[in-house]
């Protein structure tokens, strides 16, 4: 019996040593991946970083923020329906419209989302815009935005921006927020998040596929090239995104409740300009 005890003790020591080595090395920040390093940046710091970046973006002479009563109330209506259904969130979301014809939307740290007016014009109904916004919220909630910046520029750059105002770095971060795409896995996660959020918000997740379908038609030639390069591309191509949106199964008994918004009026308000 004495021997059995001594053998068991030895075994536990050996297993313990291995476990300590494994856990110990896993916790050393040097070995952390970019995604994991993001956890080093608190939400409060991310909010501060977001404030610095949004100020820099909005100060740019080329940036013109679109704002009028019709547009603002429409955006608020869509935003509040989505936010109400996220559940617990650490971000105080701010969504702004930039007057630019490109079909694009991007997220900067701290829950700040920018939508181009070109994208709003491209959406056939407010539900399509909600799908795009839900996707962007997904990137923010999963902290992809900070992770992307940490990967592109290094986490130390983000901390140095927080510790002092460095104009060059801030505009670099602003450019990175705008230009770089997320990786395949992150896009997939944001898509899945958006389908679930749309469903919870009583909006049909298939609005994402109708949006993507028209986007594919618009950029038909460019997409042809992307299809052939799908394996190499880090961005999941439009076809697989359309497919995943169409395949998303809503719970039985799901009934969508579209927005009661005059979408033509919203689009016209953008053309009319700021009030």
């Amino acid at each position: 019996m004495k021997i059995k005890k001594s053998i068991t003790r030895d075994l536990l020591i050996l297993l313990g040593v291995f476990a300590v080595l494994w856990v110990g090395f896993s916790y050393i920040p040097f070995f952390k991946s970019d995604d994991e390093k993001v956890s080093l940046l608190s939400i409060a710091n991310e909010e501060r970083l977001g404030k610095i970046i949004t100020e820099a973006i909005e100060k740019e002479p080329t940036t013109k923020i679109c704002s009028n009563d019709v547009l603002d109330s429409a955006m608020l209506l869509i935003k509040s329906r989505l936010i109400k259904n996220i559940g617990l969130t650490e971000y105080d979301y701010r969504i702004k419209v930039i007057d630019k014809n490109d079909i694009n939307a991007f997220t900067v740290p701290g829950g700040n989302i920018y939508v181009y007016s070109g994208l709003i014009n491209f959406c056939e109904n407010p539900e399509e815009l909600a799908a795009v916004l839900a996707h962007e919220i997904g990137h923010a909630e999963k902290r992809h935005v900070v992770s992307k910046l940490a990967k592109e520029l290094g986490i130390s750059i983000l901390f140095s921006v927080l510790s002092g105002n460095n104009g060059v770095l801030i505009s670099e971060i602003g450019r990175t927020s705008l230009s770089t795409v997320f990786d395949r896995e992150q896009e997939k996660q944001a898509d899945e998040f958006s389908y679930a959020l749309m469903e919870k918000s009583k909006l049909d997740p298939k609005n994402m596929s109708s949006f993507m379908l028209r986007l594919r038609e618009k950029y038909a030639d460019a997409e042809k090239v992307m299809d052939n390069l799908e394996w190499m591309s880090t961005h999941p191509n439009t076809n697989s995104r359309i497919k995943s949106a169409l395949e998303y199964k809503t719970a039985s008994g799901f009934v969508s409740s579209p927005f009661t918004l005059d979408w033509t009026k919203v689009n016209e308000s953008i053309k009319k300009g700021n009030s």
């Binding site: 021997i3 070995f31 991946s33």
Partner: protein, 167 residues
């Protein structure tokens, strides 16, 4: 302290062992390193070699049996650890798993475990060559139990007795 009276066969001392026995015992450890080289991509080859070596020496002296059994069972953890590392790596390369700090931590812990196994193996081989018993933590005790404990049926075995012819 373990009780060794009556329950265990006596240990052979260095001067009671032949050079062949010492070299066979040393071979149990050195053979492992040769097998590691051959089996690097497939960690199980190493374990298979240890099992074969143990069975080849099964009828040899307790000294050789002890060392080959200790070498055999001490291979199991590193084999499992390396198989785990390989499994994880393949999932990252061909599947949708990601390199994270847990993976990096595991790989470093696995490298340390393999280095420790290598160093201790060299020490055990050198001791065995001198006819000395070298007990690994945990595995040494298991091997000692396996090879030296006197099983209840051992003393009842019929030992042939040579008799003169009927005159």
């Amino acid at each position: 302290m373990m009780e060794t009276t009556a329950e265990y066969y006596p240990l052979e001392q260095p001067d009671e062992l032949t050079l062949r026995q010492k070299e066979d015992a040393m071979g149990a450890y050195l053979m492992m390193f040769a097998a590691i080289g051959a089996g690097l991509p497939l960690p199980n080859i190493n374990l298979a070699a240890a099992i074969i070596y143990y069975y080849i020496n099964k009828s040899s002296s307790r000294f050789v049996r002890f060392h080959s059994f200790q070498a055999l069972i001490a291979t199991i953890p590193t084999t499992l650890i390396n198989a785990g590392a390989m499994f994880w790596t393949l999932h990252i390369i061909f599947g949708d798993w990601h390199v994270n700090s847990n993976f990096k931590g595991y790989i470093i812990a696995a490298v340390i475990a393999n280095l420790a196994y290598f160093v201790i193996g060299i020490i055990a081989a050198m001791k065995a060559r001198k006819g000395i018993y070298y007990y690994y933590m945990f595995f040494g005790k298991i091997a000692y139990q396996k090879v030296f404990s006197i099983k209840s049926g051992d003393d009842k075995k019929e030992v042939p007795v040579n008799l003169p012819p009927n005159l």
